[in-house]
């Protein structure tokens, strides 16, 4: 029931979380417009489940997970709509951000999520371990491995800017 959800607490959440979620979305997509769309869609879903989400220990963690999943879906649709070799050229964003976003797609979903949340949003390894329900050691290993893979991907893009 929309009427029974607490609007005031959602408004406060919206104001506090928008920038962080949009930043996360931008890292994932490399596109400002898409980042805005994903953030909006994420917060809409948060609102639709606000009764449940607001009772959670960390509502923003739930929102981040929704955003990450929407990001994966976005990449899937984007690839389907546009030939891969046109992805970079159709974006008005600096190419490095789009390449970074593309490189992140080569990681397993959980690894990409950990990397973006740790290196981008600034969430600590301990918090991530809780959020991802894995030991801290596993998070550290994911982060290190993911950075290496992303670095390799970016180098590959530099050497072979053609179809990807």
């Amino acid at each position: 029931m929309p009427g029974s959800r607490d609007e005031a607490s959602f408004d406060a959440f919206f104001d506090a979380a928008w920038g962080r979620l949009q930043g996360q979305a931008y890292v994932l997509t490399g596109s400002r417009e898409s980042a805005q769309d994903l953030t909006q869609e994420t917060l809409l879903r948060v609102w639709q489940h606000w009764d449940t989400v607001s009772a959670m220990d960390n509502p923003e963690a739930w929102a981040r997970k929704v955003l990450q999943n929407l990001g994966i879906e976005w990449w899937r649709k984007t690839r389907r709509r546009r030939p891969p070799d046109q992805l970079a050229t159709t974006s008005v964003q600096p190419e490095s951000h789009l390449e970074l976003a593309q490189a992140l797609q080569s990681l397993p979903a959980n690894h990409a999520r950990a990397l973006v949340l740790h290196d981008g949003v600034g969430i600590t390894v301990a918090q991530l371990a809780l959020e991802l329900a894995v030991p801290e050691g596993t998070v550290k290993s994911w982060l290190s491995r993911s950075r290496r893979i992303v670095a390799e991907q970016l180098t590959q893009f530099d050497q072979d800017p053609a179809p990807r």
Partner: protein
């Protein structure tokens, strides 16, 4: 090859850059999309066609020369949000894009899924209430001092704007003292729209204003003229022709300055200027055409 630290810096830099732009909509506008959502999720053309048909019927049934469909520059910040914002009297409300928007309608008529009416005609006092299905929100300025009858209103604040609220079983009335304006909401969808009330921003489309004028042939006395006048926006440069009936004419347009030029055969008529104000009536100075 970039090292691990360089990757971290790239991610951090993209995150900071991406998080900077402010939200294109407010939380209350986002909530509006929630009500609006089922149409999109169905992903079927039929509901869209039904809404379009309802809007078309509403346009055909309630149309009058004075009524103006709001248009103008699309607010960028809402371009993809499914929500559109309109302003008048220094206030702003947002509606789902499926709603109908009308300026100075002859009578408020609820539409499905909803209608936003901005401005009131002088004849609105004679209009019946609660017509039609769906929801309606009216926003208009008062031309007379406020007079409450019955239950005293409740003082409250909506997005920082002090309002006096009066709610009955089927409608909600808000008076905004700072704008000397009222908002009336009826129907299930009106509550969400009322909740988007805030001070006008540049992203909102300003409601048009209306200019009322007169044209006379001046010889020995003043004779009302019938014919047409040319109305030119000094802001956009667009021109239109407005009919004059027995010396009286009326036109609506985006807020700004207009030049109105009359014509009466060979008699020269001095052009006049008028400034239209969003959501309000303005009086055009009389156009006087010099006869023999």
């Amino acid at each position: 090859m970039p090292d691990e630290h360089a990757v971290t810096l790239m991610i951090r830099s993209a995150y900071l850059e991406g998080g900077r732009p402010s939200p294109p909509l407010t939380p209350s506008e986002l909530r509006l999309m929630d009500h609006h959502r089922p149409l999109r999720r169905i992903g079927c053309k039929l509901p869209v066609l039904l809404v379009a048909a309802a809007v078309l019927i509403a346009v055909l049934v309630t149309g009058t020369p004075l009524r103006t469909k709001l248009h103008g520059t699309e607010p960028d910040r809402h371009a993809r949000s499914g929500v559109a914002s309109y302003s008048a009297y220094g206030l702003q409300v947002s509606i789902p894009r499926t709603w109908t928007v009308r300026a100075f309608p002859p009578c408020p008529v609820a539409a499905s899924p909803g209608a936003l009416d901005i401005g009131q005609t002088d004849l609105s006092y004679f209009c019946p209430r609660s017509l039609g299905p769906g929801s309606i929100v009216e926003l208009y300025a008062l031309t007379v001092p406020l007079a409450w009858t019955g239950k005293p209103p409740t003082r409250s604040s909506v997005n920082g704007i002090p309002v006096l609220r009066l709610a009955s079983n089927d409608s909600t009335l808000w008076y905004v003292p700072s704008a000397h304006a009222e908002l009336v909401g009826q129907g299930a969808g009106s509550k969400g729209v009322l909740g988007t009330l805030r001070r006008a921003t540049e992203g909102a489309t300003p409601a048009p204003g209306v200019g009322n004028g007169s044209e006379y042939l001046v010889a020995l006395g003043r004779v009302p003229v019938s014919g047409a006048v040319k109305v030119e926006s000094l802001t956009s440069g667009t021109t239109s022709v407005v009919q004059v009936v027995k010396g009286q004419f009326s036109f609506s347009g985006a807020p700004g300055q207009y030049r109105v030029t009359g014509s009466d055969g060979t008699a020269p008529c001095s052009p006049v200027r008028v400034t239209l104000i969003s959501g309000r009536y303005s009086t055009v100075p009389p156009i006087l055409c010099q006869g023999e």
